[in-house]
Symmetry: C2
Subunit: 439 residues, 2 copies
């Protein structure tokens, strides 16, 4: 039990493990027990860590956990946050302690990791197809009667493969399947209600399977045109609702409840509201959101999307989800007046949805970091370097070799996966704890 992030998963092994010299983000000269990270008196602003280093602001994490718990209670939806965002057992534990109903995952390997740390209910929000991957999941279900896993199918071929492997695994229970409804021109999923019903009927007929509900991912509709997005998301959620009703009218569902799950990290409020309009069915309908990035938010793509979500919710300004994830690096070189080279590269930071956003400058030591002026921007990254362009003005004289620079990122998923250890910090950047990832 971590006093900083409440949660009850099996994390004692992580606290006991020895972090070797060569652990990214730390400047260890001898191995350190992870549980002792918080008593070293280290502060990121004082130059005590290695650079780059990935930090999570604990106050922002706690705020976001409580925010999402309250959001789901207000909208009467369940939460199965997408664990692929962080793959962090400490955060899974905190999410479950804040009422998450399950953890969502994207691959069989991720399901195994979650199970290893004690997660007891998961949604594998992906088609499960390869024999070894199926065997790995079915093994957990057979060996651990307390473990629940929902999987997706979007084709008759996929249903046949699942049925064959579930039969071969000799499960004492049926494998719960969610049929995926997709979107024309987008990713996986049936393209029409008729196709989805055809797949659902096949699930219903397969001896080792049970139709547990339907799944969709409206996050694929995010575009530059927000008004169009809002209409498209509302239409998609309505289509999912109609599909659930048709399947229920046909008597295809075989579990005590019907699951309807959607919800990325930008439009989950629209999903929650759409699910509130659904008619009564033959058994309880559970609407399950799957947002993963709410836990850390970001300074890029989600910051903007979540501000709009706040506006739709009618929230007080500044009350919404807060960016928790920052990367701190050091100025390695000032080769030209308008250029600083930072120790931060593609190996360390997201670069798929915008480059990192430079926020702060700090000359190592006591004090508070200073906001960087407008016009500072990371304009390029190599594997291990970032190019920070500096506008005309005092910053060009001020920013020196050895200064620390704090950056936000856009798209947390592709930053978390660059770090096997992130540091949980207080608001003054004192290091309090370590958070592990398993990618």
């Amino acid at each position: 039990m971590n006093p900083l992030l409440p949660g009850g998963l099996a994390l004692s092994g992580l606290e006991e493990q020895l972090l070797p010299p060569g652990t990214k983000g730390l400047a260890l000269v001898e191995p350190l027990r992870q549980g002792a990270l918080g008593v070293q008196g280290w502060n990121v602003l004082h130059g005590d860590t290695g650079y780059p280093v990935a930090v999570l602001k604990l106050s922002a994490l706690r705020h976001n956990l409580a925010w999402m718990r309250d959001f789901c209670a207000r909208h009467q939806v369940l939460l199965a946050p997408h664990g692929k965002t962080t793959m962090c057992p400490q955060l899974f534990g905190a999410q479950l302690a804040h009422g998450a109903w399950a953890i969502t995952l994207a691959t069989s390997v991720q399901v195994q990791v979650a199970h290893r740390f004690g997660v007891r209910r998961v949604i594998l929000a992906n088609e499960l197809v390869a024999p070894g991957d199926m065997r790995a999941v079915l093994h957990l279900l057979r060996e651990d009667p307390d473990f629940e896993c929902f999987v997706l199918a979007d084709s008759l071929a996929g249903v046949a493969r699942l049925a064959e492997q579930a039969g071969a695994a000799g499960l004492a229970r049926r494998l719960p399947v969610l049929v995926e409804l997709g979107l024309d021109g987008k990713r996986a999923g049936c393209r029409t209600t008729d196709q989805a019903l055809t797949v659902a009927r096949a699930v219903e007929r397969a001896p080792g399977l049970v139709l547990a509900g339907f799944e969709g991912y409206e996050g694929l509709l995010v575009s530059e045109d927000r008004d169009a997005d809002l209409r498209a998301v509302a239409g998609f959620v309505a289509q999912l609702g109609a599909l659930v009703r048709e399947a229920d009218d046909e008597g295809l569902f075989g579990a005590a409840e019907i699951l309807l799950t959607a919800g990325g990290s930008a439009y989950f409020d629209l999903v929650a509201r759409g699910c509130a309009d659904l008619p009564a069915l033959s058994r309880p309908l559970r609407a399950v959101l799957r947002s993963g990035s709410y836990i850390s938010s970001d300074h890029g793509m989600y910051l903007e999307a979540l501000a709009e979500l706040d506006a739709r919710e009618g929230s007080e300004p500044q009350s919404g989800l807060r960016p928790a994830l920052e990367l701190w690096s050091v100025v390695l070189s000032r080769p030209e007046p308008g250029l600083a080279i930072l120790s931060l590269g593609k190996r360390d930071a997201s670069h798929d949805a915008g480059l990192p956003i430079p926020l702060y400058r700090h000359g190592p030591g006591p004090g508070t970091p200073q906001a960087l002026p407008d016009g500072c921007a990371i304009v390029k990254m190599n594997d291990q370097h970032a190019y920070l362009a500096l506008p005309e003005g005092p910053i060009r004289a001020l920013l020196a070799v050895g200064d620390l620079v704090g950056c936000g990122i856009s798209h947390p998923c592709t930053t978390f996966d660059r770090w096997q250890l992130l540091l949980g910090v207080d608001d003054d950047y004192t290091v309090r704890t370590g958070l592990n990832t398993f990618f």
Copy 2:
């Protein structure tokens, strides 16, 4: 000692470690000793692993290791391959066994990893600036008299910081420094010969430091205009040579030999040829290439660059470096006639220098993979999915849910870092060994 990849580093701990269920690329249901990977009889084409899985073709690795050893002997240059490409101790060991003089690294953490596995000489081809990072490197030099590490500086501020920390560390020897010559508008490094000489003089005067040579990175000159590149690279290497000569005339060098190091993975032949033209100096000049990606090459950016290099070398066609790295994934969904969704995402594959290149299709089981027809292309990736576009033709009927697809990648550095374990395979994709990375 690995019979598949000769090398003498301290790797027995890796062979003895238990790989847990949840190890990406494997479909384990119970822990497996890594050293037993090669006796399972697994074959990637038979569906025995998890998907996605990253494989290295052992025959291509062995070919590339020998190719580069012979290239360096022919050109009378030393090799310090950039270890940041792979961060793989097994490959470091094989590179050293094939005559590499040192391993190049980009960060202090990478230096610590290399040292942990027994590498005895490294070039930290980067400015070393943050106090903790400096202390970590200096600690190794103090505690291990057999360990050598060269570091970069490109500013008086950087030299002062190194001198201060080297003094505080109480080293029994001076820290060897290479002054970095950069390029206008590019990354770190002094922008002029005069600036570089100023920094070199500061190194020479600093009590705990010794000027060991100069460093540059011509890889930053790679552009779309190859003819312009060739002229620019030749000019840059000549500028480095002139700088070495001026510094030697001033008596700034303080070690038994003078190092001149450059050489990325596209134009290292030009560097080797440029270094052959250098005049005699007061002591032996050692030209050191740093190509990292030669070990795996790729099916993208380097495949093309290396074909041109082969032409410059006058090599026989097909005799050059071979792509060793492939990613195999499974078709999860065939939602539209021209679209297949693969279990391969940004978490698994490079996407910074082109998306993965689809090469083969295989229905799991015995037999040889079939080349995918022209027009197949990965047109988009999400975190955990790739969108494989299929041209009109038989492939649309042929490619089914559950089929395996083998892809090459462009830019090995940003694929290696997505895998903590890659599988070394024979040409028929039998799994023979595991290769670990430490990012």
